[in-house]
Point group: C2
Chain length 369, copies 2
């Protein structure tokens, strides 16, 4: 691995361009590393999470404000739901241009300002955390790079410790970000049963990885798919976003994520006979709402459904059913349900003959303003 | 016009199904009504906006929390930027499922809780405002229906007063929502020059409507477009979302909205030779960042660009340039830039032979939980 020096190209600074000739299966390896890196994170970061949670209480944080881009922004979406659910905190997602371009940042009084970034490099994310700190707010970096500018700028640090990620598409750095968010939520809720549930995640991810062969076969059907929608709601709204981002990055399919509610308010019009709809719908509080939409899509609009679920009723509606582990707490389901989605994208990329390691137009670290 | 009684269909309650045989050009009429309804709103709602702004100050509001769906949610995106910019307020967008399905609403202490809805009917939006009020927060409804459940639930009301909107796709109710948001921002900032700028909007919209013929001709080229991306950043992030929603609703094109920054973090991979990129990029603080992206897209990735701008450099990159009024304050540009986008969708719908009044699968009022 030879990192070359950064160069600027049309406002996007390319930081590390790896020579990866000796290893062209990073993506697959990284998907399969997830049980191990999640287990390590849960073992090593628990104490840090408890300390951060205690600081959050001491400083009387009333709300959370998160800045992130790409897959990290999808992890932030999970945080928006989970910290609302477990900790009753309102979570806002930042508008970095107000900080970097309009130069009129909002007053964030009483907020925990969080930057989430694998590399900790993107200047817009660093700017939001810097301004949050300047205003006297508590700040936190969730990053895979403890020596990054983002980690340096934030008062608190939670390391994802996923190890180097070489494939351009984020996989293990995304699930470890989710785990870091879940760990913080559990620590702030101070409920031992939440930690016990979290400890089961690596095994649940292993179980999801066992679907590899079945998903390789199932993905062939989608070889000529050019567009689709991806549905998920509540905690798995994040999964819908991350799945569709992976599809766009790796397979170049125009994949649009929606909650079942937002989809009904207009976008459902695009569905015609055979239109592919991918849905992530594990058992839980939003299940029945999702089922009603999937039933309409399957029977009235004649969409073609690919469904990730652990409920027989949802799977029965699908042309391509993919079964999630059965005993899956809904609040942790995004850490598991994204895994078959990653495998699907990996195998579809192979079926389409594209490069699984380095999608066109993209580099590992994207720096935006 | 004969409203029929509501009926429930797969969890979506259809409220008003109009018999519209006597008038099949509602959409076009409603687009062209915009200067008049905007002028009326600015004339009649200024005092209400000043009163609401004074209550907001009295109650020491520290942040804003908005619940909305569909086009109203795109208006909320404008509010997120504008109230951050003019009033330095952090604005969060609600996650209604935390209120309606998980039943663990966040603690919204110190927030103004806003529901935005044309009809004021959707139960999820009403639930968020109701819970906000139960918690003792100041609440505001921005709606076209002053006798709706949403208006009844909120302490404060700002009417958009757009008159009945009969076409399923929102046009004048969207721009009047933007104007209501701008009026409130100006009132809370208490700066007379902002009101003077707002008063020019109806004339600027008239100027944009003069593009009708040119856009009718330009739209023919896109007759067989099946997918595209729509780019906009900062204030016009909302425009990108609303334009893409209109495209999906009316033309069934899979159109995905992005900020120029988010687009670089992965989705840019989908762009290949000739891929259609629609961009809204008026002069302003985010212009140079958008230009850098458009230059890369045009020259390196060979995308086909349709550009709405009032800057010659941006227009020169486009296969289809559409010129916005020249003297357009950036903070108000979304009220004007969406107008040629609406006309584009109207003419493209006609070119494709679809129904401009009643898109398939949709009804005027969508009630989600």
């Amino acid at each position: 691995m030879v990192p070359t020096t950064g160069n600027t190209q049309n406002g996007v600074v390319l930081l590390h361009v790896y020579d990866r000739a000796e290893d062209v299966v990073s993506l697959r390896n990284e998907i399969f590393e997830q049980p191990a890196v999640l287990e390590r994170l849960l073992k090593t970061q628990g104490e840090a999470a408890v300390e951060i949670a205690s600081t959050v209480k001491k400083r009387q944080v009333k709300s959370v404000f998160i800045a992130a881009r790409g897959s990290s922004d999808n992890a932030a979406l999970y945080g928006k739901y989970l910290w609302g659910f477990l900790n009753r905190l309102p979570v806002g997602l930042a508008t970095p241009s107000l900080f970097t371009m309009y130069r009129t940042p909002p007053r964030l009084e009483g907020s925990l300002v969080v930057g989430i970034s694998q590399s900790g490099e993107s200047p817009d994310i660093v700017s939001v955390v810097k301004e949050g700190r300047r205003q006297g707010n508590l700040t936190l970096a969730i990053t895979n790079e403890p020596s990054s500018p983002l980690a340096a700028e934030a008062e608190l640090l939670l390391e994802t410790g996923a190890g180097e990620e070489r494939a351009v598409a984020a996989t293990k750095t995304y699930t470890t970000q989710l785990a870091a968010i879940a760990l913080l939520g559990a620590a702030a809720a101070d409920a031992p049963d939440l930690f016990a549930a979290l400890d089961r995640v690596p095994d649940l991810v292993k179980e999801a990885l066992d679907l590899d062969d079945a998903i390789r076969v199932a993905a062939q059907r989608y070889r000529y798919m050019s567009q689709c929608v991806v549905l998920g709601r509540g905690f798995n709204y994040a999964t819908a976003y991350e799945w569709s981002l992976k599809l766009k990055e790796m397979t170049y399919v125009v994949a649009e994520p929606y909650s079942s509610a937002d989809f009904r308010h207009g976008p459902v019009a695009i569905v015609s006979d055979g239109f592919p709809v991918l849905a992530v719908l594990p058992a839980g509080a939003v299940f029945e709402d999702g089922m009603r939409l999937l039933e309409t899509l399957a029977t009235e609009h004649r969409a073609e459904l690919l469904v990730l679920s652990n409920d027989d009723r949802a799977l029965a509606l699908a042309k391509t059913p993919i079964r999630l582990p059965s005993d899956l707490p809904e609040w942790l389901s995004p850490l598991v349900s994204i895994v078959p989605a990653q495998l699907f994208c990996y195998h579809l990329t192979q079926a389409m003959g594209y490069d699984t390691e380095s999608p066109r137009r993209l580099r590992k670290v994207t720096r935006t303003l």
